[in-house]
C-alpha cells in the first residue's frame, strides 16, 4: 500500500512529524509558493440512498 501513516501507538499530537514516501515534500525552511499552489480541498458527502433511509422497517 502506498501510504503515509504515523504507526506509533498512542501517538501524541505534539509528536506528530511523520514523513511521507509518496506525498510531495517541502523542506523545513523552504518557502512554499503559496500563491501558486492548488490548495483545492474536495470532499464527498456520502449519498444516502433510499435503501439506507428505510431504517425503521419491522
Amino acid at each position: 500500500m502506498n501510504q503515509n501513516k504515523d504507526q506509533r501507538e498512542d501517538a501524541e499530537l505534539e509528536d506528530s512529524h511523520d514523513e511521507s514516501s509518496e506525498a510531495p515534500t517541502a523542506a523545513g525552511g523552504e518557502a512554499l509558493d503559496l500563491e501558486g499552489l492548488d490548495l483545492t480541498v474536495e470532499t464527498v458527502e456520502e449519498r444516502i440512498s433510499p435503501s439506507e433511509t428505510n431504517v425503521f422497517d419491522k
Binding site: M1, N2, Q3, N4, K5, D6, R8, A11, E12, L13, E14, D15, S16, H17, D18, E19, S20, E22, A23, P24, T25, A26, A27, G28, G29, E30, A31, L32, L34, E35, G36, L37, D38, L39, T40, V41, E42, T43, V44, E45, R47, I48, S49, P50, S51, E52, T53, N54, V55, F56, D57, K58
Partner: protein, 767 residues
C-alpha cells in the same frame, strides 16, 4: 399439548444476513415461543445476520479481506490513461481500501466496544453517549464493511443492505450467486462459522426467515449448503419477502435443490403443523399455508400449494422468546426488545400499502392487559427496560388504554412504535400519558403535504391534524418521525417540494424523516388498478421480478422522482438537526437516538446538541496550534476520487446495479451509463483518511505539499512563521490559513484540545 423430550425433535430457526444490526428481529422469537408453548422443547434460534456482522468486523476477518483486496483489486492495476465507468467502482474500492484498511483493522474491536457500551465500566463514561467517540466508531464499522465488500467486489454489504452483481429478479442469477465464492461473502462464513454447528446438531427442521430481499441470496446459499450436508433436514423458508415472491420461487427451476417448502404469511401455525407432520411421518398435504415439493419421484419434484391456515388468536400467543439470541453481539449498549402488540392494520385503506400480503389478511391485537403483563415478563427476563413495539399503528382505544395498563403494572419501561395520525387519541393529555408510560418516540405515516396525493393514497388525514398530533407529542417530549414518500403516481416536482417545505417549516416538531421513493410491486393496488392512478405498468423481465417500472402521463417520471429524492435528502441534511453533518449516523442506527431519549435526553435537547455540533465544526478556524492528525493516511491517486464518487452517484450509474430494497434496477442501464457518463482523465490527486474522523478528503499536489510541510513544522503557527521569514506575502499566508481552517473543519488538522461536547443524557445515564 405434546411434551417432547428436548432431544427428540431439534428445530433450528435462523435469520440469515442481512438485517439491521442494532437489535433482534421479532420473527424468530415469536415462532420459537409458539413452538415451545406447543411442546417443542428443543428450538434453537440463530441470528446469523448479527453473527455475520460480528464475524466480518474482526481484525482477523478484515486482515484477510485487505489481503484479498490487494490480490483482486491492487491500486496499481488501474494504470490506464482513462478510467471508464465500468472500472470506476472497482477503482474506488481499491483506493478506499488502500487508505483505510490498516486503520480500520487497528480500531475495529474498539469501535464495536463503543457501540455495545463495552468500552468502559462506568455507564456515563461510555463512548456511546459521546458523539465524538460514537460517530468515529460507527464510521470505522462502516469502513470495515466496505473493506469486506471490496474483498468480494462487486458485492456490497452495509448495515442496511446487501447487493451483488446478481439480480434478485432472476432465479438463474440468484442460484448462480449462491455458488459464487468470489463475490458471496457468506459462503465462507457459513462454512467456517455455521455449518459445523448445524452438522453437530442435526436439526430435523431448519426454518429460514426471509423478511427482506437482501436476505434471499444469503438464505438460499445456506439452504443449499445444509441440503448437501444434511439431506434429512427439512428446510423451510418464510417471511415477508417470500410472501411476495414465494409462488415464483416455487415455480423456478433449480430451487428444489436448495430447500423443501415455503410458509406463506404468519408462520406460527404452519410451522407447528409442519413439525407435527414430519415428526409423525405424515404427508404435508394438510399443513396450512405451505408450498412444498412432492418428491414422490425424486428426479422430478412437483410443487404443491396447500390451503391457507387459520391465523392464530394473537392474544393467546405467548410473549416472544429471545432465549439463545446472541444479545451481546447486537451493536447497541442496551437491548431494545421487539414486541408485537398487534398484527395487520385496523385502518387498512392506504392504496400504496401491501401489508396484508406480508402478514396475511385481517387485523388482530393483544389486549392492553396482556401487553403490559408480557412487557413486565420480558423486562425481567432479559434485564432491559427498552422496547420497540412492532405495529403498523395502534387504534385510538389502544393508544388511550395501553399507557394506563403500563403505568398500572409499574412497567417502568421506555418504548417507541409506528403510529397513525389520530388527533383524538394524540391530544395533549393523551400524549402526556403516553410519555408517562414510557413512550419516547413515534413514527407517523405522513407521506405527503399535498391534499390531492393524500386523497389518492386514501390516507384519511388532514394537514391540520398532522401538525396538531406532532405538536402535542413534541410538547410531551415524545420525538416525532415522519415517513414520507416521493414519486407517488402523478405527483409533480412542485408537490414533492411542497412536502419538503412543509416538513422543514415544522422542523421544531418533526425531528426525523424516513423518506422513501414510491415503487410498484405486484400485489399493490397501483399494480392491479393502474388506470385509477393514471399510470401504465411495464412488464418486468425476470422470473422472480417483484417490482415494476411504470409510465405516467402526468407528474414525475421514476427517474425524476429519484432525482427529487436526492434533492429532498440534501435539503434535510441542511435543515434537520439530526440529519446535519455526521449526526445522521444517529438516524441510521435503529434505536440509537431512541436510547438517548430513553436516558433522559429530550428531543429538543438532542436536536440542539446536534445543531451545535455541526455549527461548532463549521466555525473551526486556523489557530496556530493546529497539527496534522497523527493517524492520517495519505494515498497518491492517478484519478480524482471525488469525481469517481460523483459519477457513481449519478442515477444512470445507480440504475445499473441491483438494489433489492428499492427495486430500482434497470437492465442494460450499464451500457447507457457507459455511453453517457464520461471516463475519468488522469489527474494527480491525494486521498486522505483519518481514523478519528473517518471521512475521505481529496487534495491536489499543492495541498499535499503544504500538508507535508505542516508535518515537518509540527504546528500551523510554526509553518506560518517559517513562510513569513521566507518572504511570503500576507495574502499568501491568508491563503494558507484558509486552507488549514478547511482541513481543520474536516478533521485532518487538530487543535491540541478538542472542544468538549457535554451531554445532558450522561448524567442520567450514570444512574
Amino acid at each position: 399439548m405434546i411434551q417432547l423430550p428436548s432431544n427428540d425433535f431439534p428445530v433450528t430457526l435462523a435469520f440469515p444476513p442481512q438485517g439491521h444490526w442494532t437489535q433482534p428481529h421479532l420473527a424468530l422469537p415469536c415462532l420459537k415461543a409458539w413452538l415451545h408453548a406447543s411442546g417443542y422443547g428443543d428450538v434453537e434460534q440463530m441470528d446469523l445476520s448479527v453473527e455475520a456482522f460480528d464475524h466480518f468486523l474482526t481484525a482477523e476477518s478484515l486482515t484477510r479481506a485487505a489481503e484479498k483486496v490487494q490480490r483482486r483489486l491492487p491500486l496499481d492495476r488501474f494504470k490506464e490513461d482513462r478510467l471508464p465507468l465500468g472500472q470506476m467502482r472497482a477503482w474506488r474500492a481499491a483506493a478506499e481500501s488502500a487508505a483505510s484498511a490498516e486503520s480500520v483493522i487497528e480500531r475495529v474491536e474498539a469501535a464495536k466496544a463503543v457501540l455495545r457500551g463495552q468500552d468502559h465500566t462506568v455507564e456515563a463514561e461510555r463512548g456511546f453517549w459521546d458523539p465524538d467517540r460514537y460517530i468515529p466508531a460507527v464510521r470505522t464499522l462502516y469502513h470495515g464493511l466496505r473493506l469486506i465488500s471490496s474483498a468480494h467486489y462487486p458485492s456490497e454489504l452495509t448495515p442496511h443492505n446487501f447487493t451483488m452483481s446478481y439480480s434478485n429478479d432472476s432465479s438463474e442469477d440468484v442460484l448462480a450467486a449462491t455458488l459464487d465464492e468470489e463475490q458471496n461473502p457468506f459462503i465462507e462464513f457459513y462454512r467456517e462459522q455455521v455449518m459445523p454447528r448445524l452438522i453437530e446438531r442435526e436439526p430435523r427442521v431448519l426454518g429460514l426467515s426471509v423478511l427482506y430481499g437482501s436476505q434471499l441470496i444469503p438464505a438460499l446459499t445456506l439452504a443449499r449448503m445444509v441440503k448437501a450436508a444434511l439431506p434429512d433436514c427439512h428446510i423451510t423458508m418464510g417471511g415477508g419477502f417470500l410472501a411476495y415472491i414465494g409462488d415464483k420461487v416455487m415455480a423456478a427451476p433449480g430451487m428444489a435443490e436448495c430447500f423443501d417448502s415455503i410458509v406463506f404469511h404468519e408462520g406460527e401455525r404452519p410451522l407447528l403443523m409442519l413439525c407435527e407432520a414430519l415428526r409423525l411421518g405424515e404427508g404435508l398435504e394438510d399443513v396450512g399455508s405451505l408450498a412444498w415439493w412432492d418428491r414422490s419421484d425424486p428426479d422430478h419434484p412437483v410443487a404443491v400449494k396447500n390451503m391457507a391456515a387459520h391465523p392464530i388468536k394473537l392474544d393467546d400467543a405467548p410473549a416472544p422468546d429471545l432465549d439463545g439470541l446472541p444479545m451481546e453481539k447486537y451493536f447497541s449498549p442496551r437491548v431494545v426488545i421487539p414486541y408485537d402488540v398487534n398484527r395487520g392494520c385496523y385502518y387498512g385503506e392506504c392504496t400504496f400499502c401491501t401489508l396484508p400480503t406480508v402478514i396475511g389478511p385481517g387485523y388482530r391485537t393483544r389486549s392492553s392487559e396482556t401487553i403490559a403483563r408480557h412487557v413486565v415478563e420480558l423486562r425481567d427476563r432479559y434485564a432491559s427496560t427498552h422496547f420497540n413495539f412492532i405495529t403498523d399503528c395502534m387504534p385510538p382505544g389502544m393508544i388511550k388504554d395501553l399507557p394506563e395498563r403500563l403505568i398500572e403494572a409499574e412497567a417502568g419501561v421506555t418504548w417507541w412504535a409506528d403510529a397513525r395520525i389520530e388527533p383524538k387519541a394524540y391530544d395533549a393529555d393523551g400524549a402526556k400519558r403516553l410519555y408517562e408510560s414510557g413512550c419516547r418516540k413515534l413514527l407517523f405515516g405522513f407521506e405527503s403535504a399535498t391534499k390531492r396525493i393524500l386523497k389518492m393514497m386514501m390516507k384519511g388525514q388532514s394537514l391540520k391534524s398532522v401538525v396538531e398530533v406532532a405538536r402535542n407529542c413534541t410538547e410531551a417530549d415524545i420525538s416525532v418521525t415522519f415517513y414520507a414518500m416521493v414519486g407517488f403516481p402523478t405527483e409533480t416536482r412542485e408537490e414533492a417540494r411542497a412536502t419538503l417545505e412543509f416538513i422543514e417549516e415544522h422542523a421544531d416538531i418533526i425531528r426525523e424523516v424516513s423518506l422513501q421513493t414510491f415503487h410498484i410491486d405486484e400485489v399493490a393496488k397501483t399494480y392491479k388498478e393502474p388506470e385509477q392512478f393514471g399510470i401504465r405498468v411495464l412488464d418486468a423481465p425476470g422470473d422472480l421480478a417483484l417490482y415494476h417500472d411504470y409510465e405516467a402521463d402526468q407528474g414525475m417520471t421514476q427517474e425524476e422522482a429519484a432525482e427529487m429524492f436526492e434533492e429532498m435528502m440534501a435539503s434535510f441534511r441542511r435543515n434537520l438537526a439530526i440529519f446535519s453533518g455526521d449526526n445522521i449516523f444517529y438516524f441510521m442506527q435503529k434505536s440509537h437516538y431512541f436510547l438517548h431519549l430513553a436516558s433522559g435526553e429530550t428531543p429538543q435537547g438532542f436536536s440542539g446538541r446536534c445543531a451545535d455540533r455541526t455549527e461548532a465544526r463549521a466555525q473551526r478556524a486556523a489557530d496556530p496550534g493546529l497539527k496534522v492528525s497523527p493517524g492520517l493516511v495519505t494515498v497518491p491517486l492517478d484519478f480524482s476520487y471525488s469525481e469517481a464518487v460523483r459519477t457513481l452517484s449519478d442515477p444512470l450509474a445507480r440504475a445499473a446495479r441491483p438494489d433489492f430494497l428499492t427495486g430500482r434496477y434497470v437492465r442494460d442501464a450499464d451500457q447507457v451509463a457507459e455511453e453517457q457518463l464520461p471516463p475519468l482523465e488522469v489527474k494527480e490527486r491525494f486521498l486522505l483518511y483519518d481514523a478519528e474522523n473517518g471521512e475521505f478528503v481529496e487534495l491536489r499536489d499543492g495541498g499535499a505539499r503544504v500538508l507535508a510541510a505542516l508535518r515537518q513544522h509540527g504546528t500551523l503557527g510554526s509553518l506560518i512563521e517559517a513562510q513569513r521569514r521566507g518572504g511570503a506575502s500576507e495574502a499568501a499566508l491568508d491563503r494558507l490559513e484558509q486552507f488549514a481552517a478547511e482541513l481543520h473543519r474536516l478533521g485532518v488538522l487538530r487543535s491540541k484540545t478538542p472542544t468538549p461536547t457535554p451531554s445532558p443524557a450522561l448524567a442520567s445515564a450514570q444512574g
